[in-house]
């Protein structure tokens, strides 16, 4: 490659989706640079050549020149037509998912990406994918708009509540790529990152096997896993340190001050309500920013989380 504007782009790790984009990016930059140099040169040249000599300089009357003006309307028009066509075809390619794509469900919510695989495996903010195979990420959102952006693959799409959207790519090297959230979504928008981890196909299969088939372990262990997976720790710490929300450490049995002035002792029912419908009782000094987990966590799962919280003394 070694093109003039290479330094501007991140490494291309998914040529199938990135090549056309990169080519066009370079093309526009180069054309623009040439035109810009032309214009700038003309400006500077005229400024010196026709510098005012005396107060009563006479200037010729040149009102217009149709040939010139038409030329510099038609040439840009042609250039933009090329750019449009190129951009359009590249974009069609971004929309057209190959048939054999491997599908992964990704849900954005404040401020995490929850990832679900076909065999029931779940991860948070980590997307494991096989190398050399097209992957289709099906996006959805639980609360507000988010946007799924992988610079290395040149793909991006908004996650819209109430709808499914998607992106696809095909990673060609084992390694990691960063995922950003690029639609403003509140306090920790800039921390809503994820990692795409590309495995050799065989390694990916083993990874899936190991993590598939739902949770295992004691209720407390399952609860702990859920707290990690569901992103509770974005806001709640488990070690007593401060955050956007009250820490889980020492929570159970504690006397809690609510923002309406009342107080209560934290028990199972309160915890359950706080998880399902956090807006019902808001802790004093905090804002009601926690998403409701109604319909997202099952009763068993909530019980497990509560069991886990109880152990954090």
């Amino acid at each position: 490659m070694g093109r003039l504007f290479d330094f501007m782009l991140p490494e291309n790790k998914s040529p199938l989706t990135a090549d056309s984009t990169d080519g066009l990016f370079h093309f526009i930059n180069e054309v623009s640079l040439i035109l810009l140099i032309g214009i700038t040169f003309a400006l500077i040249y005229f400024a010196f050549k026709y510098k005012r000599k005396s107060e009563d300089d006479k200037t010729p009357l040149i009102t217009h020149n149709n040939t010139l003006e038409i030329t510099w309307s038609v040439i840009p028009l042609l250039i933009t037509l090329v750019i449009f066509g190129w951009g359009y075809s590249g974009w069609l390619n971004l929309k057209a998912v190959p048939d054999d794509a491997y599908e992964i469900q990704v849900t954005g919510f404040k401020w995490n990406w929850a990832v679900n695989y076909e065999n029931g495996a779940q991860t948070l903010n980590e997307i494991h994918v096989p190398k050399g195979r097209p992957v289709k990420i099906v996006l959805q959102s639980r609360d507000v708009l988010h946007s799924f952006f992988v610079p290395d693959y040149r793909v991006k799409h908004d996650a819209v509540p109430g709808r499914y959207t998607y992106v696809w790519f095909q990673a060609e090297e084992v390694g990691e790529s960063v995922v950003f959230c690029t639609e403003y979504c509140g306090t920790s928008h800039s921390d809503m990152l994820a990692k795409i981890i590309v495995h050799e196909p065989e390694d990916f299969e083993t990874w899936l096997e190991l993590n598939g088939g739902g949770p295992s372990g004691t209720p407390v262990e399952q609860g702990e896993a859920l707290v990690v997976q569901q992103g509770c720790q974005t806001c709640h710490s488990v070690d007593g340190s401060a955050g956007l929300a009250p820490t889980f450490k020492g929570l159970f049995g504690k006397e809690e001050q609510l923002n309406d002035g009342s107080s209560l002792t934290v028990d199972e029912n309160y915890l359950r309500e706080s998880i399902l419908n956090p807006g019902a009782k808001v802790v004093n000094g905090y804002e009601n920013i926690m998403p409701p987990y109604e319909g997202i966590l099952s009763d068993d799962e909530i019980t497990n989380i509560i069991e886990y919280i109880k152990t954090l003394e």
């Binding site: 040149i62 009102t63 708009l145 509140g186």
Partner: protein, 579 residues
């Protein structure tokens, strides 16, 4: 006008009026006192009041920008919390757009020069003009009330559902504020359109209209057509907040993408509300300082209207990744490029105007050169963003941030500075310090590129916008950018310094220090309360630099100063010049 003119032709004489170099009675000395200023219906004073307000908000929003940039010095927290940062960029963007750029050229400079360039005594509806200023002030008050009620952190775009389910109180206040502000803009537009149609001095036919007027005309058309849609959108948004009516909120069955359509239906044309008046200034300044007829008058005049029109059909280019339909995306991308053509015609015609001119690099001209360079970069990167596949990668990254600063700051603001320096002698009767003017222009150029060029690179590398924390690899770019912004801040302080100083100790300006052929320069500096002490008669185009100055100093009759009610003035019959 023709009819009215011919009716009394027999008694009218056209005479040469040379503007007095030592006016005794000007609009600044006419009425004094705070109350007189606050209740004035004089377009010039209202223009100045707008100018002060705009400068105030610019300084405030610029100060916020400095705070933003300082926070971004390190990848994690530098000195403010994430929530504060989010409010800062929202406030910075909203203020710069709604309180600075939209009113800056039309309502501040435009108000001042538009009637003068038309040879009129005032705009068509002077009281409405004052009302629109106060509406603007009320809009500002609402925004400050919002700040006292939790503020707002939605980004200047107020996207739902984020804006309708967080922090409601602050958002409600600010959306109502923007709603009110919209009417200020609408009234200005209405006023200008009517004035341009109905109040032109004898002889100003459509082909003798200064290009600045054409630009303001196109702008007003956009203001009148687009702003009401913003008003209703923002009203719906407030109702979404207050009543939860659910048109946009997906939780209630609404469609958030519809909100984006409504918002951008205004806000894309709005970017042309911001830039097109700038184009007008460029045409005036570039001809004045190259003492040459504009190249391609009609192309420049009509391309403003073309931009205004096409500008209404491209709003969806902000929504390529939003989940709008593929058909819409394709159409929007295609139409986006078409805006580049009329804009390009303008740029190239301005360059061609310089050819064989008599170019003098005074400060306003320097800003025009800076404008041409920076805006072209901004425009080209706009084309980059219009390209479908590339925008998928660049959307909502710092590349977009850099693009719009190049067009808004490198474009509009540079044009504004050009116009401010250009008309400063007319407005205040004082000359600013030319040396300091040039020094600060150069500083701005350096500071600006240092601030925003690195943003192109990091944006293309993947740095998302509205990010409080970022990954380490972007730090060098952010730091360069931050240093650049400090240079910018210093440059603006210099400008503030020498402009304020010129008011008190500046050299007195002559009526026409630049030897311009523009009609506004045929009044005294500063002008009389009624602009001209005669009714100007126009027989030459505003760019006829090949003709002697005398021909531009024609007028009818003398009027007395002050408020012209009742029977005044006699028609002078001496010193006839053939019209």
């Amino acid at each position: 006008m023709a009819a009215a003119q011919s009716k009394n032709m027999t008694t009218l004489q056209v005479k040469r009026f040379k503007p007095s170099e030592n006016p005794t009675n000007t609009y600044l000395t006419d009425e004094k006192g705070v109350w007189a200023w606050m209740t004035t219906v004089d377009h010039k004073k209202i223009g100045l009041m707008y100018l002060v307000a705009v400068a105030f908000f610019f300084a405030l929003a610029g100060f916020l920008a400095i705070a933003l940039r300082t926070e971004l010095w390190t990848p994690a927290k530098t000195f403010i919390e994430a929530d504060t940062y989010n409010q800062l960029f929202t406030l910075h963007g909203a203020m710069m757009v709604f309180f600075v750029l939209v009113p800056s050229i039309p309502a501040a400079l435009g108000n001042f020069v538009l009637p003068m360039q038309l040879g009129a005594k005032d705009v068509a509806f002077p009281r409405l003009n004052l009302a629109s200023f106060y509406i603007y002030v009320i809009g500002a008050v609402f925004t400050f009330i919002s700040l006292a009620n939790n503020g707002f952190d939605t980004g200047w775009t107020f996207y739902t559902p984020y804006s309708s389910d967080t922090n409601s109180l602050g958002v409600i206040w600010v959306t109502l504020g923007v709603f009110i502000l919209g009417f200020s803009s609408i009234l200005t537009g209405t006023n200008f359109i009517t004035t341009i149609h109905k109040l032109r001095a004898p002889g100003i036919t459509w082909d003798k209209l200064p290009l600045n007027i054409w630009a303001l005309y196109a702008t007003s058309v956009i203001q009148v057509l687009a702003t009401p849609v913003l008003a209703i959108t923002i009203l719906l948004l407030s109702m979404e907040n207050i009543l939860d009516i659910g048109i946009f909120d997906p939780a209630k069955g609404g469609d958030p993408v519809l909100y984006q359509h409504f918002f951008w239906f205004y806000s894309h044309p709005a970017v042309y509300i911001m830039i097109v008046p700038g184009f007008g200034i460029i045409s005036e300044v570039i001809t004045t300082f190259s003492k040459k007829h504009i190249f391609g008058y009609w192309a420049i005049a009509l391309s403003s209207l073309a931009i205004a029109f096409i500008g209404f059909l491209v709003w969806g280019h902000h929504m390529f990744t939003s989940g709008q339909s593929a058909v819409a995306t394709t159409v929007f991308s295609f139409l986006t490029f078409l805006v580049g053509i009329p804009t390009g015609i303008k740029i190239l015609n301005w360059v061609a105007t310089l050819y064989k001119g008599s170019i003098e690099m005074k400060t306003p001209m320097l800003y025009v050169f800076i404008f041409l360079f920076l805006f072209t970069i901004g425009g080209f990167t706009g084309i980059m963003l219009g390209a479908l596949s590339v925008d998928i990668h660049l959307h909502d990254t710092y590349y977009v941030v850099a693009h719009f600063h190049y067009v808004m700051m490198g474009g509009t603001l540079m044009a504004l500075l050009a116009g401010l320096h250009y008309w400063w002698p007319k407005m205040t009767g004082k000359m600013y310090n030319e040396t300091l003017g040039k020094i600060s222009a150069v500083l701005i150029f350096i500071g600006f590129n240092m601030t925003f060029l690195p943003q192109f690179v990091m944006g293309a590398q993947g740095m998302p916008r509205r990010y409080y924390n970022y990954i380490d690899q972007f730090q060098p770019f952010h730091q360069t950018s931050t240093i650049g912004s400090y240079i910018l801040g210093a440059a603006f302080l210099i400008i503030l310094y020498y402009l304020v100083r010129s008011l008190f100790g500046g050299e007195k300006a002559s009526a026409n220090p630049w030897n311009s052929r523009g009609l506004e320069w045929q009044a005294t500096s500063p002008p009389d309360f009624h602009n001209f002490d005669h009714t100007p008669v126009v027989i030459n185009g505003p760019y006829d630099y090949h003709k002697p100055m005398e021909e531009f100093q024609l007028g009818l009759a003398v009027e007395h100063n002050g408020h012209g009610h009742g029977e005044h003035h006699e028609v002078k019959t001496d010193q006839t010049e053939k019209a």
